[in-house]
C-alpha cells in the first residue's frame, strides 16, 4: 500500500470525514472507494448497450410482476 500526500479544500475534507464517520470507514478507505467509483464511471454507450442486451434477454421471459417474484424469493431465502 502506497502513501500519498494530497491537497483538499477544508470544506471538502470536513465532508469527507463526516461521511467516513457515518459509514464507519477510515478517511483513506472512503477516498479509495470514491476513486474506484470515479474510475469505473460508465460511458453512455456502454450503458446503452448493456440496457439493450438486458431488454433482449428479458424479451422471452413471459408475463409477471417483478415485485411478486422478488417477494417470493425474499420470503423463501431465509
Amino acid at each position: 500500500m502506497s502513501k500519498v500526500m494530497i491537497s483538499l479544500p477544508e470544506d471538502l475534507l470536513r465532508r469527507l470525514d463526516s461521511e467516513a464517520r457515518k459509514r464507519s470507514m477510515t478517511r483513506s478507505g472512503l477516498l479509495a472507494a470514491a476513486l474506484q467509483r470515479e474510475l469505473a464511471r460508465r460511458d453512455p454507450d456502454a450503458v446503452a448497450a448493456a440496457i439493450a442486451r438486458s431488454e433482449q434477454r428479458f424479451r422471452t421471459a413471459g408475463s409477471f410482476e417483478a415485485a411478486d417474484l422478488v417477494r417470493a424469493d425474499r420470503d423463501t431465502a431465509h
Binding site: 469505473a40 438486458s54 417477494r71
Partner: protein, 143 residues
C-alpha cells in the same frame, strides 16, 4: 445530483415489461440514470436477488445469468457493500418493523447512505422504508 438506491423489484422492471405495474415510472428512473440526470446505485444484495430470481424463478441459463449480472454492473456501477453500521441498523429496523434481515438490509443501506430507497415491494413501502417508482418519478418530475 440526486442519488437513489434501487432495489431488485425495480431493477427487473428496467428490462422486463410484460405484466409489470409502474413500468413507465421505473423506466423513467432508468432513463434519467442513463442520461446522467440522477444516479441509481445498487448494493451487493441486488446481485444475489437478481441472480436467484433468474436462476430459480425464470430458469435462465448460467451464461445468461452471468451476462445479466455483468450488464447490471455496467449500468449501475460496482454494487455497494454494507458496512457494519448499516448491518447493525438493519437488525434494529427488522426488529422494529417485523421485517426479515434481508428486507431490513435494503432500508438500512439507504439510510446509511442518506438516500431514498426505491422499491416496488409492498412490504417495504408499507413499512414506510421505501418509496414506489411512481412516487419517485412524481417527486423528481421525471414524467
Amino acid at each position: 445530483m440526486t442519488t437513489l438506491l434501487v432495489d431488485t423489484s425495480v431493477l427487473l422492471k428496467w428490462f422486463h415489461g410484460s405484466g409489470e405495474a409502474e413500468l413507465a415510472e421505473a423506466r423513467a428512473i432508468r432513463d434519467a440514470h442513463q442520461r446522467g440526470d440522477l444516479e441509481a446505485r445498487i448494493i451487493d444484495l441486488a446481485m444475489y436477488e437478481v441472480g436467484n430470481v433468474l436462476l430459480t424463478r425464470l430458469r435462465w441459463t448460467a451464461s445468461d445469468i452471468a451476462g445479466q449480472l455483468d450488464d447490471l454492473v455496467s449500468i449501475c456501477g460496482t454494487p455497494l457493500v454494507a458496512t457494519s453500521g448499516w448491518l447493525r441498523d438493519a437488525a434494529i429496523l427488522g426488529e422494529t418493523h417485523q421485517l426479515s434481515f434481508y428486507d431490513a438490509a435494503w432500508a438500512a443501506s439507504a439510510r446509511g447512505l442518506g438516500i431514498p430507497l426505491v422499491s416496488a415491494d409492498a412490504k417495504l413501502i408499507a413499512a414506510g422504508l421505501a418509496e414506489s417508482p411512481a412516487v419517485t418519478a412524481r417527486r423528481l418530475r421525471l414524467r
